[in-house]
Amino acid sequence: MTNRLDKELQFHQTALNLRAYRQQLLSSNIANADTPNYKARDIDFSKALTGALNMRLGPVALATTSAGHIDSAPASPFDSMAQYRTETQSSVDGNTVDMNTERAAFAENALHYEASITFINGLLRSMQTAVQGQ
């Protein structure tokens, strides 16, 4: 039973984590809207989620066999998913943040995050109903 509950929650947990990660990327973009040479980054959500669910996402690292080797493992498990955005209009200072795109993506991502939470709440509620058996 608990195993099943775990499995049900796993998907939503991964999705929620990924949404939080994307929110962080987008807020970095918005914060650096005026930083020269900053390149905006984002993830392809559905691709990233598929990757995360298939467990293909664990930090891939090179083997370090000598003390002089540099540890190449990414700091966060989602690190490898972030991609640079293609700019729509180039700017003089080399910054690729398009505020409209970022704001829209940020709002959309926040909504999806809330949706995920609603799903989890619904799942927990129906599980509770099942457990109570009334």
Binding site: I30, A31, N32, A75, E114
Partner: protein, 136 residues
């Protein structure tokens, strides 16, 4: 996994940086006509230089910081005013190199960026609150 809490640090760093930018703009506009500064020279317009800075060592949470405040290298405006004690032998006074139009644009841009980041913070707060109320 503290992505959502990092959003606060990111937006916070941007709020700080934008307010420094607003400060220099205010200083520039206030001194647009200051012919003599503390060093006896005309006031030089100040500009901030932003740089991206990871907030906790990870490459994903990138905040922004003011790397330095530089004096503008633009030449000062020369105004003919022989009666002014600061005038040179030809009767010209060197005014500060503040470009008022540029400063106004800077001010609007800083204020818009500040608003955007404050909104980011609000959204993050709402989302964290929702997360904390899971299962209630």
């Amino acid at each position: 996994m503290s992505s959502m809490l990092d959003v606060f640090k990111i937006a916070g760093s941007a709020l700080g940086a934008q307010s420094v930018r607003m400060n220099t703009t205010a200083s520039n506009l206030a001194n647009a006509d200051s012919v003599v500064g503390p060093d006896g020279q005309p006031y030089k317009a100040k500009q901030v230089v932003f740089a991206a800075k990871p907030v906790d060592g990870s490459a994903d949470a990138v905040g922004v910081q003011v790397e330095q405040v530089v004096d503008s290298a633009a030449p000062g405006r020369m105004v003919y005013d022989p009666a002014n004690p600061a005038a040179n032998t030809d009767g010209y006074v060197e005014m500060p190199n503040v470009n008022v139009v540029e400063e106004m644009v800077n001010m609007i841009s800083a204020s818009r960026s500040y608003q955007a980041n404050a909104e980011v913070m609000n959204t993050a707060r709402t989302l964290i609150q929702r997360t904390l109320s899971i299962g209630q």
